[in-house]
């Protein structure tokens, strides 16, 4: 007897977003990235279209990282301190689809870098690589509001993604994105209701739905990731069910979350039962990334080149629609 595979009938699809602008489009990118447009849950090709593959953004810090375990640090020691060189390595050697530049040096409790310094860093990264850019502030609201207009201006016309608008702090970043033709990350805690509220606030400011990327703060494997999965999945279900205010593509931060858990860095002599340190963090990052991929994430922000390569292969397999 032939097996009939049941199919869900969805009424809507995810917004499509294009990041980056080429010379013809008013920017200088040599490649752009288009995400979203899904008509079904991840990789259910028999049920609906998945016109654009999920992508991997690799993280570049604008300061020398502290506390990175050796298995991760060894890949970046030669370039950290030079964001342009770091970005170039991520693209040329590790195949990053986008660069996620985190302006941690602006933090008043850290380097307290000025808006001009941040703008200069952005310029140098834009010149170093041809892929689109995610520009993410330091996380201090006041300081981010000081630097973001300058950072945005430094990438004007390049269709970068600016991060991040939150429920309590969205006006400056939103106005900057609108003025300079960028997209925006709408950030919330792991809470679909607050995510939706941020989306409303930002669209009230005039942002197009196609210029918004959603980001709910998630952890990593072993730290409530099942709950994160269910919330991201619920967000996507609402999108496919026609909720326009939850129809934007989603981003997940994987690298920094995976590498800060003790399983990724605790020395072998302290936890011999966990196996070799050089593999643990990579496996942790792969497992976390894969899980978010299947929860409907469109952009994964990652760190370790081996994890990136593995997850890229996995995306290839899943997009092929063939049994694996």
């Amino acid at each position: 007897m032939p097996l009939t595979i049941p199919k869900e009938r969805w009424t809507a699809e995810v917004q499509t977003a294009t990041i980056g602008a080429t010379k013809d489009e008013g920017g200088t990118r040599t490649s752009t990235v288009t995400i979203g447009g899904e008509q079904t849950l991840p990789f259910l090709h028999f049920e609906g279209e998945t016109p654009n593959r999920p992508v991997i953004a690799m993280e570049v810090l604008d300061e020398i990282p502290t506390g990175w375990p050796e298995p991760l640090a060894q890949h970046y020691e030669d370039v950290w301190g030079d964001p342009a060189a770091w970005a170039r390595k991520a693209v040329d050697e590790f195949g990053a689809d986008l660069i996620c530049l985190r302006l941690l040096s602006a933090d008043p409790d850290g380097g307290d870098a000025s808006a001009d310094q941040c703008a200069e860093t952005i310029q140098s990264v834009l010149e170093a690589v041809g892929v689109p850019l995610i520009i993410w502030g330091c996380g201090n609201d006041d300081k981010d509001n000081d630097i973001m207009p300058f950072c945005s201006q430094a990438g004007a016309g390049e269709r970068c993604i600016l991060g991040a608008a939150t429920e309590d702090n969205y006006k400056t970043i939103c106005a900057s994105a609108l003025a300079d033709g960028h997209l925006i990350i709408n950030q919330s805690p792991l809470d679909i209701n607050i995510q939706k509220q941020v989306n409303i606030l930002v669209t009230d400011m005039g942002m197009d739905l196609g210029d918004i990327i959603m980001y709910q703060i998630t952890g990593s494997l072993g730290y409530g990731v099942e709950y994160a999965y269910s919330i991201l999945e619920r967000t996507r279900l609402a999108a496919l069910d026609g909720d326009r205010m939850l129809q934007m593509p989603m981003l997940s931060i994987v690298g920094s979350e995976a590498w800060r858990v003790k399983e990724a860095w605790q020395p072998e002599e302290e936890a011999p039962e966990w196996g070799p340190l050089e593999r643990r963090g990579i496996i942790w990052e792969i497992a976390t990334a894969t899980l978010f991929l299947h929860a409907a994430t469109d952009i994964l922000v990652m760190r370790h080149p081996e994890a990136v390569a593995y997850v890229r292969d996995h995306i290839d397999e899943m997009m092929s629609g063939q049994p694996i």
């Binding site: 209701n193 607050i194 509220q197 409303i200 669209t203 009230d204 939850l246």
Partner: protein, 261 residues
Amino acid sequence: MFVIGERINGMFTDVKRAIQAQDPAPIQQLARDQVAAGANALDINVGPASADKLGAMQWLVEAAKQAVDVPLCIDSPNAEVMRVGLEAAEGHAIINSTTGEEERMEKALPLAAEYGCPVIGLTIDAEGVPRDADGRMEIALRLVVACMEQGISTTDLYIDPVILPVNALQQVPQEILNALQMCKALANPPPQTVLGLSNVSQGALHRDLINRVYLIMALANGLDAAIMDPLDTELMDAAITTEVLLNRNVYCDDFLKAYRK
């Protein structure tokens, strides 16, 4: 909830006047206002405005179509008027309506199949409207079977169990709530359900309040669509809030605004 705006109906004086004067502006304003207020489709009913029902329907559909892009719910018991309306709407329409009477189904359902559009089926037969939910379900089942025979998906059939005025038949609103639940067991996938909401308060004093409370009750019993006045803000707010409370829409602080975006 699928909202079918009820205001373009020749029973209303402003619409009647516009039809008689062949002035599209008031019709188009009503069309735009209803869609902006949350209507997903617009009912189009010539009513008593013109003796030339065919010409009036065609004119009304074309006027509305120029203003909005939602499906038009062609509201007429007459098959010829229906065809003219469907033709003018280029199939971007809903048939309103057929009853469970053979001769009505024989005319309306082939049109639904031909134009590929959903159809509203009233639970009325030659003997009129049944007294209770069971009687309504007998007719609903006939409609479901007739649709299946015509190759019309059950999800494109909207069963209207026919609400009657509460001031005349006070037992009916509860029977309708039962019927709404029973409809979902008629087929898999089940047909949709719709009500001509304002009928419940016909001739009563506190019409807005009755409409609002009954819509909430009907939604809680599984109602999918309503022909109603989307320009009644309190009615729309009540419906939106009900859907949030029933977990059919994701809550956020600005949930009323979110629905209207």
